[in-house]
């Protein structure tokens, strides 16, 4: 269970990115968080992965109050949460295999484990035949699939996707959303932050609408209402 409890985030001089933001997400849910640019969606994501300290309120994952995390505990939080951003953030000098393996190497995993898991996650995203290609040799949709594969190597309980289809055409965007649904079916909680109306409407899942740092609508099977 992810709980945002009256979370406020202030930026100097007095800009409220989140304003008494409250939200509950149950384990295994697929939630779309929608809203226009600058409404606090990305601040919510950054607060959830410990990149931003909130000004007041609480964020809990299970019994874990992550607003009181010590700096050295942040990496352990991030291994529990897979994160996908709009810009693909792949290393151009590494192959697709190496890009995914990098996420495991920097967390101290053994080569034998890396050689087992990386092909599995690349197969899951449908890239098992392109593992030795470089990012610039595959399409934008495939690059985003690699990022998804990379976010899955630690078997996260939560997958945060912040505008994952922002740089993709409609066909590739649909593929990515299908992949997120597939991951959700394995039991992973998925929070999809987007302002893509078509995707949200086609999903027919829970939709949380954010405006001015507050939740203004929370529909169990929702539509994009802005």
């Amino acid at each position: 269970m992810i709980v945002f409890e009256n979370v406020t985030k202030l930026y100097p001089p007095n800009i409220k990115a989140l304003d008494e933001f409250s939200l509950e997400v149950k384990p295994g849910e697929f939630v779309s968080v929608v809203g226009q640019s600058g409404t606090g969606k990305t601040t919510m994501v950054r607060a959830l992965i410990g990149e931003e300290r909130v000004s007041s309120g609480k964020i809990k994952i299970g019994d874990w109050d992550i607003t009181r995390l010590r700096q050295r505990e942040v990496p352990y939080l991030r291994r529990q949460i897979g994160v996908i951003f709009q810009d693909f953030k792949l290393l151009p000098s590494k192959t697709l295999f190496e890009n995914v393996a990098f996420a495991m190497q920097v967390c101290g995993h053994l080569p034998s484990k890396i050689n087992t898991i990386v092909p599995q996650v690349l197969k899951l995203v449908g890239l098992e035949k392109k593992i030795h290609r470089y990012p610039q040799e595959v399409s934008g949709g495939e690059q985003q699939r690699v990022v998804i594969a990379r976010s899955l190597v630690h078997h996260p309980k939560i997958l945060l996707a912040d505008e994952p289809t922002g740089n993709l055409d409609s066909i590739n965007a649909a593929d990515i959303v299908n992949l997120l649904e597939k991951i959700n079916k394995f039991g992973t909680t998925v929070i999809l932050v987007t302002h893509n109306k078509d995707i949200v409407n086609s999903l027919r899942r829970r939709v949380v609408t954010v405006d001015a740092g507050r939740v203004i609508s929370d529909q169990k099977v929702g539509k994009y209402i802005l």
Binding site: R72, P75, R78, V83, K89, C107, G108, L110
Partner: protein
């Protein structure tokens, strides 16, 4: 797992060292200049010490005695001198011994030999030679000897110039050391700035990797460690290169030093060989410390993890 992570940290650091080769080259070059100046101070120190020892050996505080000085008077004066503070030894040179030594020293000079024959008798005086325990004792001994100079058996003395020579030598040695330390400190400060800048640029060029490492949950230690390891690589490269280039420099210097002093009394290469671990080991550790400090400053300032 710690070993595996350490190997990966070293691998990332090595990759970065060679990827930013020109930046690494400049950083290591500045470090080499620092180490060169420090080693040069060591050489100057060794030369100064050898020169002082040589002067100590050559300084004779001679008290020349009147020709008809009695054995008892000479013995009394000798024992009086031996009781002075800082005096190590007092030796008596008779007229005959003085002549023998003089002839031996100038045996190649025919005109001096002819002059001695012309005089027909031994023109030299017997003398007492005073040797100090340490160079520093000479000044006090000279003062004491000046008070003794009215002693009945003393004809003359020859130690006035030594005081000036010793003062000049001490002053030159101290000044050379001061300038050397100042130059070294400047190079150390420049090294800190250059390493700081190199790490800052390395962080800048690795922004993407650092961002990914943070996102996937790499520990803060793992993210920072390659930059610290890189600083140690600079220290290692600098120390290895200074060893490679300083020995040829010493080989160039040695013939001049050997000719000026005495090849047996000053072998600068042998000195560095004998103290190899101490000199280069301490320099490596000091360079590691300075570079790590600069790297920590840069990482702390430019990398928020």
């Amino acid at each position: 797992m710690i070993l595996l992570s350490t190997i990966r940290v070293l691998k990332f650091a090595a990759q970065d060292f060679f990827r930013n080769f020109w930046l690494s080259l400049v950083t290591v070059t500045i470090l080499i200049l620092s180490l060169f100046s420090i080693n040069f101070i060591i050489v100057v120190g060794v030369i100064s010490q050898t020169a002082i020892t040589a002067v100590e050996d050559k300084i004779d505080l001679n008290l020349y005695l009147i020709p008809d000085a009695g054995e008892d008077d000479i013995a009394a004066l000798k024992s009086e001198l031996e009781r002075l503070d800082g005096v190590k030894d007092v030796s008596y040179i008779s007229k005959a011994q003085a002549l023998e030594a003089f002839q031996s020293k100038h045996q190649a000079n025919q005109s001096i030999q002819d002059a001695l024959r012309e005089v027909g008798k031994n023109p030299l005086s017997a003398s007492l030679i005073v040797e100090a325990r340490e160079l520093n004792n000479y000044t006090a001994i000279i003062d004491s000897l000046n008070n003794l100079s009215k002693h009945a058996v003393i004809e003359s003395q020859n130690f006035d110039d030594h005081k000036t020579l010793l003062k000049t030598m001490s002053a030159i040695t101290a000044r050379t050391r001061q300038v050397g330390i100042l130059v070294s400190l400047i190079f150390v400060a420049v090294t800190i700035l250059v390493v700081f800048n190199a790490v800052r640029i390395a962080i800048y060029t690795h922004q993407k990797e650092i961002r990914i490492m943070k996102l996937v949950g790499a520990s803060n230690w793992f993210i920072r460690a390659p930059f610290l390891a890189e600083a140690i690589f600079y220290a290692l490269a600098g120390t290895l290169v200074i060893i490679v280039i300083f020995y040829p420099f010493l080989q160039l210097l040695q013939p001049y030093l050997g000719a000026f002093f005495n090849a047996e009394s000053l072998n600068i290469i042998a000195y560095f060989n004998h103290n190899f671990i101490t000199i280069f080991g301490i320099e490596f550790l000091a360079a590691c410390l300075i570079n790590t400090l600069a790297s920590l400053l840069a990482v702390g300032k430019y990398m928020k993890v």
